[in-house]
């Protein structure tokens, strides 16, 4: 198990034992800004060395995957989970969108094992964040019995496209792309050298947050817990198929599987709270942070690596 995951577990245990440990809110905010920018910068510098013509079709495939995943989750939630349209659509959007921190843990896993991956992957992270949220909002408003004209698209798209995570990821990508490796050298110490240490500290906080969602998970029962584990497995399997079709390396396949499996807890909650206020946010957050995030960083990521290896072996 990677050392950063141990920090996550410390946070979980501390919270479950009732410790009053708490990271200052401003530090949480600072760490998340740092992580998003650092991931973007690294990806941008690598992107500068890729031919755009080769990356563009991959980017489209990744966005299509992001848009397709909620369409699979939605009917499951409606029919099997018997959830109302709003809750189903909101949950589906969370599970189609991505968690950047889960991605960072997956990258750390590959780096530790010296597995190569497409270095411009952060672009895919940024691109995969928004489509599922838009699809989720459309699903919520697609019923004949609701006020279909009531989508506040201005506020929703503002929240989706100008939310902190997309601005920082795309901003970091742009800076890295414009500057290139050479120009980034003087600031490398902060942005790349400290990355894993900062990720560890952030995961400690995530452990505290995830464990505090346990009550919500209990309240919503077995179906939500099962969905929080099974849906990532379904999404990861589909993502492996897409990655193979895109011609990604084994490392890249594993990262796309992780992105497919991860559930958003920054961009999606913020956008959906405004766009679909009827949905109960405790459900989506409980599943995404209380179940899927811990599952992915502990058991899921090694499993997705296995899946990627099988995918590669199957050709």
């Amino acid at each position: 198990m990677d050392v950063v995951v141990l920090f996550f577990l410390l946070g979980v245990v501390a919270r479950l034992l009732g410790s009053d440990l708490r990271l200052p809110e401003a530090l949480y905010e600072t760490l998340s800004i740092y992580l998003l920018l650092a991931i973007g910068l690294r990806g941008g510098a690598e992107l500068a060395e890729q031919p755009i013509a080769a990356v563009a079709p991959q980017a489209l495939a990744v966005m299509a995957l992001g848009a397709a995943l909620p369409l699979i989750a939605f009917p499951i939630l409606r029919r099997v989970g018997r959830m109302n349209r709003f809750d189903s659509a909101a949950l589906a959007a969370h599970y189609g969108s991505v968690s950047v921190v889960t991605f960072a843990v997956a990258v750390a896993y590959l780096v530790k094992r010296q597995v190569a991956y497409e270095p411009h992957f952060p672009l895919f992270v940024a691109l995969m964040e928004a489509p599922a949220i838009v699809v989720g909002v459309l699903l919520a408003r697609s019923g004949g019995d609701v006020r279909s004209g009531s989508i506040n698209w201005g506020a929703t798209l503002h929240e989706v496209l100008l939310g902190k995570s997309i601005v920082l990821l795309l901003g970091g990508l742009a800076i890295g792309w414009i500057a290139g490796h050479e120009a980034l050298k003087p600031i490398e110490g902060l942005w790349f050298g400290l990355f894993k240490g900062v990720l560890a500290l952030f995961l400690l906080e995530m452990g505290l947050v995830a464990a505090s969602r346990i009550g919500e998970v209990r309240r919503y029962g077995v179906f939500l817990a099962a969905f929080g584990v099974l849906m990532p497995l379904v999404s990861a399997t589909i993502a492996v198929g897409v990655a193979r079709a895109m011609g990604l390396s084994t490392g890249g396949t594993m990262l796309l599987a992780t992105l497919g499996a991860s559930a958003s807890y920054i961009a999606a909650p913020a956008a959906l709270r405004i766009a679909v206020p009827e949905a109960n946010p405790a459900l989506s957050i409980g599943a995404s942070l209380g179940i899927t995030f811990p599952f992915n960083v502990t058991l899921g990521i090694p499993l997705y690596y296995r899946l990627a290896q099988w995918g590669a072996a199957a050709g």
Partner: protein, 100 residues
């Protein structure tokens, strides 16, 4: 000290609503507002502000009674059904009435 009677409207709710509420109170006639970050709990559970999805704000507006009433009615109809929200009105006295 001479004071002028006004109403203080206080709204405690999810931080996700901040931008919308600020826009609404301005449109409905308030001259100003104050927002601060808070944490607490109620019928929607505890909101401990540990991460962005769990933040709460306290929005305060001082205005004449009709303006406060308009804002309160709008909030009751628009946001109360779906958001964690507490709201109350109190009497207050201000020194410079033209500001409110």
């Amino acid at each position: 000290m001479q004071t002028h009677a006004k109403k203080l409207l206080v709204v405690i709710t999810e931080a996700a609503l901040e931008k919308l509420l600020v826009r609404d109170v301005r449109t409905l006639g308030a001259h100003g507002y104050t927002v601060c970050d808070v944490r607490g709990g109620g019928e929607h559970g505890d909101r401990e502000a540990e991460w962005e999805g769990n933040r709460s704000i306290r929005l305060e507006v001082i205005a004449d009674e009709p303006v406060c009433a308009r804002i309160a009615e709008h909030i009751l109809a628009t946001y109360c059904p779906n958001f964690a929200l507490s709201m109350f009105v109190a009497d207050c006295g201000v020194l410079r009435p033209h500001k409110f």
